[in-house]
């Protein structure tokens, strides 16, 4: 926890959330591409591994990226299920906003402390 600085875990969390948003957007973009294999980031695993190895987010995300197992395989080899992707995307967007709220709270606290209000 020592090298996390001002924002604690939230800076790393925001980076992982941002990467996950891009990955889910890729899945939705390829919803009708034959043979496309949907991928997702295991958020908990990525965050833990980023904290363990001192904030290297890229390698943490690479390790936590997994292929999605479809509920019902399709004939053309595409593993994107829009309901799953849409739910994950919405969840990720809400979590991103939550992280932003935490960061805003921290910035507010520090600002007030600096101003001596």
């Amino acid at each position: 926890m020592a090298n996390e600085g001002l924002f604690g875990v939230h800076g790393t969390a925001l980076a992982v959330r941002s990467q996950r948003m891009g990955m889910l957007a890729s899945n939705i973009a390829n919803a009708s591409t034959p043979g496309y294999k949907a991928r997702d980031i295991d958020f908990d695993a990525a965050l833990q591994s980023a904290q363990r190895n001192g904030g290297n987010i890229d390698s943490a995300i690479d390790d936590a990226t997994l292929y999605r197992v479809p509920l019902q395989p399709s004939q053309d080899g595409n593993t994107v299920e829009l309901t799953t992707e849409q739910t994950a995307f919405a969840e990720n967007a809400v979590a991103y906003q939550t992280t932003l709220a935490f960061l805003n709270g921290r910035i507010g606290t520090i600002t007030r402390a600096l101003k001596g209000e």
Partner: protein, 136 residues
């Protein structure tokens, strides 16, 4: 596209373009359903786009491109119709064999996919704007 990493807007934007190409081919197919020609070669055949994933190594994201547009589906059917002005010397015309039900289903799926990508873009835009307002 150069070596610059993909942004989430390019991911969704290119997917939207691909879906638009698909919508255009569907429109052409439906417009040409049941049209006749005087030879087999000149008859209209169903057009379909071929989608291909474009993976970006740098950002780890992938988008979709239309690789090509191919003709697919059943061959035109020969019909004996000597009264038709398009008939050849034997009195035959070739009628395009467009599966209209399939095209309509395809059209609905295309529209849904397009809407999904618009939704993704709007959400991403809003989150980026919120991030820029951080601390204000």
């Amino acid at each position: 596209m150069g070596d610059r990493p993909l942004s989430i807007f390019q991911v969704s934007g290119r997917a939207m373009s691909a879906q638009l190409v698909r919508m255009n081919t569907t429109a052409s197919n439906l417009a040409n359903a049941g049209t006749v020609a005087s030879s087999q070669g000149a008859a209209y055949r169903t057009m379909k786009p071929v989608f291909r994933t474009h993976f970006d190594e740098v950002s780890g994201m992938s988008t979709v491109d239309v690789e090509s547009v191919v003709t697919a589906g059943a061959e035109p059917t020969k019909r004996y119709d000597p009264g038709n002005p398009m008939a050849d010397k034997d009195g035959n015309v070739w009628e395009s064999n467009v599966d209209e039900t399939r095209e309509l289903v395809d059209m609905m799926e295309t529209a849904r996919s397009y809407q999904n990508n618009v939704e993704v873009m709007q959400t991403a835009k809003q989150l980026i704007i919120d991030t820029l307002k951080l601390g204000r």
